[in-house]
């Protein structure tokens, strides 16, 4: 058995090293990783993790080493009920762990304080729906979906509520997760120190399409955030071409307005995402597909293939109507 053990352990260690190397590989995007923090909250938790990692690795190695010595070490007399055996148990099983765990408790409590809600100037209200995110800026009068724009360097208060079942908002590069409950408003905060796009997704199982309930936090410099804000506060009403106007009619003909709202029109549905600025969003289907002409057409014609089980039904419209509808939707910048 000795030979086997000695062969296997180095193999496992090699494997762990190989994986860690992969982890450190620099060609990855890391925009959904808690190990590449982009804000103080995630940075603090990452620090806690590395602290825990080194403490626990040390403990693990010591215990395994002790076990190995116990098995393969020199033969010794029985320690049955010996004072030595009992002292060993008290010392290594109670005293040392007691001190370590006390230290960990202190770290944990201190971190809870550090991660407390800072004072904020901007609030974002996120409502979880099966299976997309409604994003509202109550102070700014902006409603959008599946993406949260925030200015770099400013702490943002995020209020969380669910319209149906429990969801959980998790943007690992910025903050730990917080549940969206149907009967209580939870609050968390985010602060991005670096410009970037951070992906998040629902972390509480919420039904058939839990896997594709993604969103993006788009952190932009304050001046660009102001531009974005002003762009969103007015609904861009370009003059529609004939085909686009046809698409507008199709929108109502196939009853899209039952679930979707477009500000400035009579479409005020609330079950699906608000489409007022659909064309300027980066993704469709809650982080599922890149928002381009092909994907949008495919999605409108048949949302059930790309995201089976989602609540948007297949529409039965002919290709001309579909083309006009998508052309119209693409004017919603």
């Amino acid at each position: 058995m000795h030979v086997k053990m000695q062969k296997v352990y180095p193999l496992i260690i090699l494997l762990i090293i190989a994986m860690s190397a992969n982890l450190a590989g620099c060609h990855q995007s890391h925009n959904q990783s808690m190990l590449y923090p982009a804000g103080p909250a995630a940075a603090h938790i990452a620090w806690v993790w590395w602290f825990l990692f080194f403490v626990c690795t040390a403990i693990f190695l010591i215990v395994i080493l002790l076990t190995a010595v116990a098995i393969w070490g020199p033969r010794s007399a029985t320690r049955h009920e010996s004072t030595l055996g009992n002292r060993f148990i008290i010392f290594s099983g109670i005293v040392i762990p007691g001190f370590i765990l006390l230290a960990l408790l202190v770290v944990s409590v201190r971190s809870q304080v550090v991660l407390g809600m800072p004072s904020t100037k901007l609030t974002v209200r996120v409502t979880g729906h099966m299976w997309w995110w409604e994003v509202e800026y109550p102070e700014l009068g902006i409603v959008t979906a599946n993406e949260i724009h925030i200015p770099v360097g400013q702490p943002i208060r995020i209020e969380l509520i669910s319209a149906d079942v429990i969801h959980s908002l998790w943007v690992p590069n910025l903050q730990g997760k917080m549940d969206l409950l149907p009967d209580k408003i939870n609050a968390t905060w985010m602060l991005a120190e670096e410009q970037g796009i951070y992906r998040g997704q629902c972390a509480e199982y919420c039904g058939v399409q839990h896997a594709w309930m993604g969103l993006e936090v788009i952190a932009i410099p304050p001046e660009r955030f102001n531009q974005w804000k002003q762009g969103r506060q007015k609904h861009s009403r370009v003059t529609l071409s004939q085909s686009e106007r046809n698409g507008f009619d199709v929108f109502f003909k196939v009853a899209c307005h039952n679930c979707h709202a477009i500000d400035g029109t009579s479409a005020v549905g609330v079950r699906g995402p608000n489409l007022t600025h659909l064309a300027s969003r980066r993704t469709i289907g809650a982080g599922l597909l890149e928002n381009n002409h092909g994907n949008l057409s495919g999605w409108v014609a048949d949302p059930q293939t790309a995201k089976p089980g989602n609540l948007m039904p297949r529409t039965h419209i002919n290709s001309t109507d579909l083309r006009s509808l998508v052309e119209y939707l693409e004017t919603l910048k």
Partner: protein
């Protein structure tokens, strides 16, 4: 006096198991039922494993459509439910039922018919889970069934399959727990004091008590949710004042102890295996015992650490962090005791020992990640990610399945009488161990890189495919390990070398009987004078203290099944307990239980009503004492030769202890209802909700008075039983029955006259269900009293001790009724008025 072979033959004939069909349905012997439990659980384990492999195939590459979302969600729900409810706990219960009598020196467990009932209910519950596949409505709400996803607004009959199957399995768990606790307390060999219990038995004792409390709370929660779904109550309906986090509190109040309910017996196995292969007694027996007790106790104070992302107050979370860290100390004590035991002993690295070392490696790793996630900020990042998936598989596979496999390799020679094949065992261990680490170690990293749990697929951009391919390869290897184990088991059954009584030269009593053991287990009851009966020579004074009795009991009783009863702490002989022979009643009772559940499932409530009627009839047949048999027992020669009662009463009777178990179950279930009442009230802006008036006190107060009088009488019933007092006992029983029926009548009148419906809002649901629960308690006490009155009046030839036991049970049950009716009154009637 007959010769030993002659006595042996007669004992074997008395304990002969039932053969053929339908005989197998009547079997009650613990060895047969224990093996059935283990085999059934292992089949569910293999099914659960296949589900896991299918999920691994789906996850191998990003954006895979091998299964699709719906099927994947069904599979992870069934995988979790199967492994938690249908495999781990039932397997350990089966192992316990099989081994307990052997390890403590008894001939069977305390309630053989209850064991059989528990098995059937478990089997039916498990089948009900899987019938959902045939019905095309597989549960897809996760093994935790969070509301509101599990309410009728979002899910259909699939959730009912889950809830009802689960309820049946919970009932099975509760019966097994009563069985385990009472057997350990009452059936120990003379001299096996509590301080001499084998550690596996000690862990089972603690776990038994934990199940009584934890499973009862879960049973209440599942019943509440099913009431919401089937009868439109509003406990979890947010639109009618229900609460959504209440389910999580109740579920995790069960769910966290559940982890230790699986883990503690697993450490018990380890504490048996390590001393055997180190050829020396365990070091720090007392410390391990303290650690087991501490774990059992603290495990009920951890549940909130599953809810760190739910937005609870910081201070509450800190408390649960501290408690979670504390339990690490209990685990640490055990680990270091095992290391101290092995130290310098050059243990034999046979297969059970290899699995034990694998356990130490994996459990220490899983335990340390557990310490990490006890810390709130870190948990808020990794909660519900693959880091958690990795953590709990290290703890549950490493910490529970590795010990179970170790136990399988350790005890199979005892069960089958044949040794397993070492090279197959080594192959199975290395395949399992390497496969396990390949599967689950990468999952830690996947969690860091942004992979949440319970997703059927993940975006390519997360670049997780390398890890997932490694994990799936590992899963195949892990599956191979399980198949090798199975192959080894089957091969050894036919071709294995004959094991002999004690192939490992172990120290505990089960190795003193033949392999496989006879159905009566012990011909002569062993005398225990140390923690290691097979390793130490008996001290003369202790063995002489009991040797006369044990000689008198050699092969006796031979014409009925019986075993020796000893006292709960010192294990001094107290009585001889009659045990039933094969009997069909448990099977039919289980069928009636299943029919009641199916009736609710398919909303054929008339079927449920008939099934409950059948259930009551079965219970009456089950419990109705056979007077001839009682008289035969009372006049048994054995009573005179041994000077022990064959009709034990009070603390010498297993029934007395089982009644306490029943009180704990009912009390915990009821306490969960009371907790729900105050929890929902805490989060309601108005109480009673919707501006309803406070309940009127008059009827309730009168009801309480009546019940207190009834309890007062009931407590006095068993004080003296003599022929002269039979009449007053009979009147007393009638008085108790009258008090109970008056209480029920008053409550029914109150509920019907208040003009409310239980489905109006959460307040009325609580009002009705709590009151109804107290009425059920009164019904039980009333039924036992009526029953006692009938026995006292109609038949004067019943042995007095049988009557006394009956009255003692009423007295014990009345304590429960007292508590429940007081709590009902103060909670439901008084608190809305006072504050």
């Amino acid at each position: 006096m007959h010769s030993k072979p002659e006595n042996d033959r007669r004992l074997a004939a008395t304990w002969e198991p039932a053969h053929g069909f339908p005989g197998v349905l009547s079997e009650v012997n613990n060895q047969v039922i224990g093996v059935r439990f283990m085999v059934t659980a292992f089949v569910f384990f293999l099914i659960g494993g296949i589900l896991a492999l299918l999920m691994r195939v789906q996850l191998t590459v990003a954006e895979n459509d091998f299964l699709g979302p719906q099927k994947y969600n069904e599979l992870f729900t069934m995988h979790g439910s199967t492994m938690m409810f249908l495999f781990a706990v039932p397997f350990l219960e089966g192992l316990a039922l099989y081994l307990l009598p052997m390890m403590i020196g008894a001939r069977d467990v305390a309630f053989p018919r209850l064991t059989a009932y528990g098995y059937w209910v478990y089997l039916f519950g498990g089948v009900l889970f899987y019938v959902s596949f045939l019905a095309g409505a597989v549960p897809d709400i996760g093994w935790f069934g969070y509301t509101p996803l599990s309410t009728s607004r979002f899910t259909g009959i699939s959730t009912d399959f889950w809830l009802l199957g689960l309820s049946l399995v919970e009932v099975a768990g509760l019966t097994a727990a009563v069985e385990i606790v009472v057997t350990i307390l009452k059936f120990r060999a003379p001299g096996m004091t509590i301080g001499r219990l084998p550690l596996f038995v000690l862990s089972l004792l603690v776990v038994g008590v934990m199940i009584l409390i934890a499973f009862s709370v879960l049973l209440t929660a599942t019943v509440m949710l099913e009431l919401d779904r089937a009868f439109n109550t509003a406990f979890f309906d947010l639109t009618r004042g229900g609460n959504n986090l209440l389910w999580q509190h109740l579920f995790w109040f069960f769910g966290h102890p559940e982890v230790y309910i699986m883990f503690l017996p697993a450490t018990g196995i380890i504490s048996m295996v390590i001393p055997t292969f180190s050829r020396r007694p365990i070091v720090g027996y007392v410390w391990i015992a303290v650690a087991i007790l501490l774990t059992g106790f603290v495990s009920f104070g951890l549940w909130v650490h599953h809810m760190f992302a739910a937005g609870l107050p910081d201070l509450a979370m800190t408390f649960f962090t501290a408690a979670s860290l504390m339990i690490a100390i209990a685990s640490g004590i055990q680990i270091f005791s095992w290391i101290a035991t092995m130290w310098g002993s050059r243990p034999t690295l046979s297969v059970p020992m290899l699995y034990t070392l694998g356990f130490i490696f994996l459990f220490v790793l899983g335990g340390l990640t557990g310490v990490m996630i006890a810390m709130v900020p870190f948990d808020q990042q990794v909660h519900d990610t693959y880091f958690i998936v990795a953590h709990f598989h290290y703890v549950l596979i490493g910490g529970v399945i590795f010990p179970i496999f170790s136990g399988i390799y350790y005890w199979t020679p005892k069960i089958s009488g044949r040794l397993l094949t070492p090279w197959l065992g080594y192959a199975s261990f290395w395949s399992t161990f390497i496969g396990f680490n390949l599967t689950f170690f990468p999952m830690h990293i996947m969690g860091f890189l942004g992979l949440p749990r319970r997703v059927y697929t993940y975006p390519k951009e997360l670049q997780l495919e390398t890890y997932n391919i490694v994990a799936t390869t590992g899963a195949a290897l892990l599956g191979l390990g399980a198949i090798l184990l199975l192959a080894d088991l089957i091969y050894s059954l036919f071709k294995g070398k004959i094991a002999g009584d004690n192939p490992w030269h172990a120290d505990s009593l089960e190795w003193s009987v033949a392999s496989p053991p006879p159905n009566y287990t012990f011909f002569i009851f062993p005398i225990v004078s140390s923690r290691h009966p097979l390793w130490s020579t008996q001290t003369p004074d202790e063995s002489s203290k009991y040797s006369e009795l044990c000689l008198a009991m050699a092969g006796e009783p031979h014409d009925w099944r019986g075993t020796l009863v000893t006292d709960a702490t010192e294990a001094n002989p107290q009585a001889i307990q009659f045990l039933p022979s094969p009997c069909y009643v448990p099977f039919w009772t289980a069928v009636a239980t299943l029919a009641a559940a199916v009736g609710i499932l398919i909303q054929a409530y008339i079927l449920s009503a008939f099934a409950i009627l059948a259930l009551v009839i079965c219970l009456v047949i089950w419990l109705y004492p056979n007077t001839d048999q009682l008289n035969q027992l009372a006049q048994s020669d054995l009573a005179t030769t041994t000077d022990l009662s064959t009709l034990p009463t009070s603390t010498a009777s297993v029934v007395w202890w089982a009644t306490i178990g029943f009180n704990i179950i009912t009390g915990s279930s009821f306490a969960a209802l009371i907790y729900s009442y105050f929890y929902i009230r805490l989060f309601s802006s108005q109480w009673p909700q919707d501006g309803l008036p406070n309940p009127s006190l008059s009827a309730a107060l009168f009801g309480l008075f009546v019940v207190v009088c009834g309890v007062w009488v009931a407590r006095r019933l068993p004080l003296t039983v003599s022929q002269q007092r039979l009449k007053s006992q009979a009147f007393g029983s009638i008085a108790v029955a009258l008090a109970c029926s008056m209480y029920i009548g008053l409550q029914v009148w109150d509920l019907t006259s208040c003009g409310l419906s239980p489905s109006k809002n959460a307040y009325t649901s609580l009002f009705f269900v709590i009151t109804a629960a107290s009425m059920l308690c009164a019904l039980v006490v009333g039924a036992f009293s009526v029953f006692a009155a009938i026995r006292l009046i109609c038949n004067r030839h019943i042995p007095q001790s049988s009557i006394q036991l009956h009255l003692e049970i009423i007295s014990l049950l009345s304590v429960l009724l007292f508590g429940v009716s007081i709590l009902t009154f103060t909670t439901v009637y008084l608190t809305p008025i006072i504050f």
